[in-house]
């Protein structure tokens, strides 16, 4: 999968699914923390993001600590999706 394209698609998905009306997809930095950082996302956002990514790329994000690692940043999430998606 084209990595740059995957990153862009993830950026758009995050802004749309989490209804971040005041954020431009391009402003989401690859290594910035998704949770506990400037975006001020919460556990409900994490659930929403997991479901959206799973549906879009047909992957299964494990629960618990593993999920925390995968959802750390755009980079970790994109690496997981790239490795798992068919």
């Amino acid at each position: 999968m084209d990595r740059a394209r995957l990153l862009d698609e993830l950026r758009t998905l995050i802004v749309e699914e989490l209804e971040l009306r005041d954020v431009a997809p391009a402003d989401l930095a690859e290594d910035a923390p998704l949770f506990g950082g400037e975006l001020a996302l919460d556990s409900l956002d994490a659930l929403q993001l997991v479901v959206a990514v799973e549906e879009r790329w047909g992957v299964r994000i494990p629960e618990g600590d593993e999920a925390r690692e995968i959802l750390r940043s755009l980079r970790t999430l994109s690496e997981f999706v790239a490795a798992q998606s068919p």
Binding site: E17, L18, R21, D22, D42, L44, V51, E54
Partner: protein
């Protein structure tokens, strides 16, 4: 004063464990579990496939038309039992108050999903007959209490607790002599999939307070109580099953789904209920806890009990019935109330089903199975809901002697002071810009509009949000949003239901959002009564308001393409438009104490049937102006043939955006007329044969 306590003179219930209150209670004491594999609606990749379903739902026939939904059938069964047990004649029940969150969703959801996907389901009309949230209360009134005023309140999983608090207030203030209060919810796909998407369901069945607890189990059912004033029950020689000794409502104003971990607001509600009852924490023999079995709820609840009860929290017995009955959502507060009453009567404390390894971190004294034989005198029952509404009730043994401080407020204030009156801009656009985008990103137009008018009202009146309550009316809920969610679930499967969307579809969401955004910690509840939802909201506020608690009282509506298409109208251009209107009301003493600038005085007059309204108009000196809410043509005819024919008339709603329930808008206009110099204005609404009248006058 003696004879003023609130007596419970009838109980009724239908649950996964039984078709009556006593059947349910005996099964609880025997330790039977009502949670099992879901029999309804096979198929779909749900994570969780267990629930507490009612095996046999009576058809509910009898008086009036046949029930149109499972909710109606469940509610009628429990309500009929409660009235029969009480011995009150059906005509003697003055009010019916129902707390619910789903209404006829179960019957409507397939058709809604198909419609949202562009189909035209042939059974649409029939599927939606029982859909409005108020339909169930109307059906209960028709079936078991003809002529009673029917009210519907919704505050998510504490809905029935709000209904009981409203009924109790009506009895304490002498507004009715006997009231039937309770709650109902039927299993539906929306709540099953929605809670599953949130990860809130325990796939193995709920285990409240257990170390391994992993969520709730959805249940279904209905429960009702008949409440009367002590003197009235005594006069007719009725058996008193227990006393409703005290209650309190509040809100966490924290998060759409997460409980606030300190438990501060629930603790404050428990303390307020104790104060109202004139009881000390040490008087409580049993806590019939909300105890859903989610890790967060049970931890918060333990913290709240420690805060509220102090040392007594470590020694008082605690159970949750949800391990056996499931979480009956909007009915849960009423099911818990009936169980609390029967625990006092039968001298048994049901255990927490499923609890085998108590979580040591909670520091509670559990009734782990089996049930305990205890002669309890006082039971505390708590209820919490997503969106943050909290409630506490105290039930006391029938043999308890009266206390000087027992519940029993004076009469309701005859007039209320309006200290702010705000209606939203027609397109809701201005409001959207005034609120913080990040904190409102999941809000739909209705939430934006209601939050914005409430913020304006608080700012205008200079009142701190914290101690303020909010009661807002709406007839149809987030119909388009619910349909879109259901269509998405149909398309992608339950596994991919969007978790963050579900909490926004709950009928309480709009009120909850406003409460959370603004920090409103007073009683917060939604009210439904179709096109007179605003009038119903005002009646609820009039029953609850006291000198300490100002209330925001209003209504909101949203018009989207889906809803318009459903009702055969022209689909408006996207985006959907929303509107809201709200009054800040205070008691005269409350307003005087804080030196508030009073815009107008408000006197809600009872709703009355057409002939009585005609007589009232004939006998009452015409006001300076009339503002018409709903029911324009019929009302115009009524006024034309009365001495009020020449009174200048304004029709609210024509310039107020998409209000299907323009009652608050009418009151805002009336207040504006008073501010502009009118001495007295009457706001009128007419719907389903009832005329609602509110007098608005110069302060």
């Amino acid at each position: 004063m003696s004879g003023r306590r609130v007596a419970v003179t009838g109980v009724g219930a239908i649950t996964a464990l039984g078709g009556t209150a006593t059947e349910t209670f005996r099964a609880l004491v025997e330790g039977r579990r009502g949670i099992g594999p879901v029999r309804w609606r096979e198929g779909g990749d749900h994570r969780t496939r267990v629930a507490a379903e009612v095996a046999a739902v009576p058809d509910g026939g009898g008086l009036g038309p046949a029930p149109r939904s499972r909710c109606e059938r469940l509610a009628i069964a429990a309500a009929r039992e409660a009235v029969a047990v009480s011995g009150v004649s059906p005509g003697g029940v003055g009010g019916v108050v129902v707390g619910t969150t789903t209404g006829g969703m179960r019957e409507a959801e397939r058709a809604l999903a198909r419609l949202a996907r562009g189909d035209a389901p042939p059974d649409l009309g029939e599927a939606l007959l029982g859909y409005p949230l108020s339909a169930t209360a109307e059906a209960v009134a028709r079936a078991v209490a003809p002529g009673a005023v029917a009210r519907t309140v919704t505050s998510a999983c504490s809905s029935a607790a709000a209904a009981i608090a409203l009924g109790s207030a009506a009895i304490e203030r002498g507004l009715v002599r006997a009231v039937l209060v309770g709650g109902v919810d039927a299993l539906c796909h929306l709540t099953w999939v929605g809670f599953d998407a949130l990860g809130a369901l325990d796939p193995e069945g709920c285990r409240p307070f257990d170390r391994r607890r992993a969520g709730l189990s959805i249940g279904e059912g209905a429960a009702f109580l008949v409440l009367e004033r002590e003197a009235d029950a005594a006069a007719r020689g009725a058996r008193v099953w227990a006393w409703l000794a005290g209650w309190a409502l509040g809100a966490e104003a924290f998060h759409p789904t997460q409980p606030e971990p300190s438990g501060a607001r629930p603790a404050a509600a428990v303390r307020a209920a104790l104060e109202r009852a004139g009881l000390a924490p040490s008087a409580i023999d049993w806590v019939n806890a909300h105890g859903t079995g989610t890790p967060q709820n049970d931890a918060m609840e333990a913290a709240a009990l420690r805060l509220a009860l102090g040392e007594a929290a470590a020694t008082v017995r605690v159970s949750s019935c949800k391990g056996q009955l499931g979480h009956t959502l909007g009915a849960a507060g009423a099911v818990a109330a009936v169980v609390s009453v029967l625990a006092l009567v039968e001298r048994w404390l049901p255990a927490t089903g499923g609890l085998t390894e108590p979580d040591p971190a909670l520091g509670l004294r559990h009734v782990a199975p089996p049930a305990e034989r205890v002669d309890a005198r006082v039971v505390l029952s708590t209820s919490f809901g997503v969106g943050g509404a909290v409630a506490a009730r105290l039930f006391e043994h029938a043999e308890a002697p009266p206390r000087a401080s027992a519940a029993g407020g004076g009469p309701a204030p005859a007039t209320l002071c309006v200290t702010a009156a705000v209606a939203s801009a027609r397109d809701g656009g201005a409001a959207r810009r005034a609120l913080e985008p990040r904190r409102t990103r999941r809000f739909d137009g209705a939430s934006m509009a209601l939050t914005a008018v409430c913020a304006d009202a608080l700012a205008t009146a200079g009142v701190a949000a914290r101690g303020v309550g909010l009661v807002a009316g709406n007839g149809l809920g987030a119909l388009g949003r619910a349909a879109a969610f259901l269509a998405r679930v149909d398309q992608s499967g339950p596994r991919f239901a969007p978790p963050a969307e579900f909490p926004q579809i709950v009928p309480f969401a709009t009120v909850g959002n406003a409460s959370i955004y603004l920090g409103l910690e007073g009683p917060v509840v939604g009210v439904a009564d179709l096109e007179t939802s605003a009038e119903a909201a005002l009646a609820v506020v009039a029953a609850w308001i006291d000198d300490e608690t100002p209330f925001l009282c209003g209504a909101y509506d949203v018009v989207d393409a889906f809803t318009e298409r459903l009702f055969g109208g022209d689909p408006p251009e996207a985006p959907p438009t929303a509107a809201a209107a709200v009054l800040l009301v205070e008691t005269p003493a409350g307003a005087a104490r804080r030196g508030a600038h009073v815009l107008a005085r408000l006197e809600p007059l009872d709703a009355r049937p057409l002939p009585a309204a005609r007589a009232w108009l004939a006998a009452t000196a015409p006001a300076g102006a009339v503002v018409v809410g709903t029911g324009g043509a019929e009302l115009a005819a009524l006024l034309a043939e009365s001495p009020w024919a020449a009174v200048p008339r304004t029709v609210a709603g024509s310039d107020g955006g998409p209000h299907r329930a323009p009652g608050t808008l009418a009151l805002v206009r009336a207040v504006e007329l008073v501010e502009a110099g009118a001495r007295e204005v009457v706001a009128l609404a007419l719907a389903r044969g009832q005329v609602h009248l509110t007098r608005v006058s110069a302060p």
